[in-house]
Symmetry: C2
Subunit: 304 residues, 2 copies
Amino acid sequence: MASLRGMQQPELSKKLFKIIKSENHAIGAYESASRERLSIASQLSDWGEATGDDSVSDISDKLGVLLSEIGEQEDVFAQNLEDYRSVLKQIRNTESSVQPSRDHKAKISDEIAKLKYKEPQSTKIVQLEQELVRAEAQNLVAEAQMSESIVITMVADSHLQTRQKLKEAYDLHFAATIERAEKQIMLARHGRRLLNLLDDSPVVPGDTRPAFEHSAQARLVLNDAEEDLREWAPNLEPITSSATEMGSNLMPHQAGAAATSDTGEALTLTTEGSNVGAPETFGQRDISGSSTTAQAEPNQTYQS
Amino acid sequence: MASLRGMQQPELSKKLFKIIKSENHAIGAYESASRERLSIASQLSDWGEATGDDSVSDISDKLGVLLSEIGEQEDVFAQNLEDYRSVLKQIRNTESSVQPSRDHKAKISDEIAKLKYKEPQSTKIVQLEQELVRAEAQNLVAEAQMSESIVITMVADSHLQTRQKLKEAYDLHFAATIERAEKQIMLARHGRRLLNLLDDSPVVPGDTRPAFEHSAQARLVLNDAEEDLREWAPNLEPITSSATEMGSNLMPHQAGAAATSDTGEALTLTTEGSNVGAPETFGQRDISGSSTTAQAEPNQTYQS
């Protein structure tokens, strides 16, 4: 048994190690897409100016603004995925850090069992049994340390932290996916409004094309886009978590039931991750995150 | 004048050439993100199985299905961006292919003007004037060839095709952005439903955690996601185009007004690009596109 477990667990943390590495590549791909998108946006504006067509010049410049904002959202997405990735790392650390003490404990138990069978009178048995008590205490401390808020009484449930962290990780992941998507939809729809301001009807030979008349309307589209981004707030089905809901006696209030916090210390994980870069001003990006932090929805919470 | 134009135009097609190249890198980044996402999805499922926790195993397997579908959408997005990119290439080809004949025409005009000033009696002037007539005819053919549907009478308006193609390109681009976003939002919201099926409440010491009871509900979430994807159809503000709306006399019906097609040959550009991969079946991806092609919205059309 001991050796089987020893084989299985490092295998497990190796699996998660690989996921964390792949996720790093995925994040890198989004960062690269963001950089290209920003570069294309400014190139498009330059190109439009060089065409010598005032309408194309104005529209392409404003398209560039929207496209670079779409590109910024790819980068915000990448940064939010980093938050998710760091929660995966916590699971991996749990899996790998506690394992040595688990292995040690199992190895001693194994030796005791063997000795009791081969040399039942051996004085070494008492010695090993004392060592086992120490190893168990050591393991208990290790399990408690790695799980921070999970108290020692809970160690019996070794899957608890994995479940909690898995929910936390993919809460962040899906929230980031939804944030990018919702913001990019707003921007793309405003982009389509811009396109419709560009007249591409043929001019009757002999007539000249009228000058671009929609400059003010095009500016309005950008203002609308800016306002939409500023007013965006996450609207998500809350992920409930009751893993760390403990009474002062270190026992859960109601095992098995979703927690309703009475501590008042609601930690808004979802909105915390999602608000990076949320308040945007075109050309003058505010990364303080202060304005939308206030919009954090109170029901998307992890109780702490 | 001739030399200035000659300087300016190749510069212009060089700008677009660079945009097309950058866009290729951006598309590559999305393809790479898609590959990583698919790989992570199957790794997550493997990891969940290895934890030995039935609930984690079931949920992570189904999360993997949704995550791989989110990854597929990155690839659909990349393929749709290829369509947009090929329209940019058409603009670039226009800019670069017609330029030599424009330059040639301008050069002859220039020579004639110089000769008329320096040697007004030169017999070479007549010769050059005949050459100019040939150059103008050649240029007319080149401009008509590159613009396919744009008839010779329209050549005077050299910005027409650029405007039309710019609208067509970013119609595709924004439609692709919206398609990816809408589908990923649906998938991510179903993912959040899955997370809430995973019980992470602590077990009272001495009790054992009950077996995973939500397998059927989790399966239902996947079915819902599949159905949502199947029923997805683009819902976009149409981009109007009247560039190629011609009567049989090769003259536009109504210059300057948005076209209403009377040819019945509506070419649904937006939905054509957007339907790549739209009909999905988990695990058995139907790439024929037949089911949603029928849902193409009749008002998102370029008149041909």
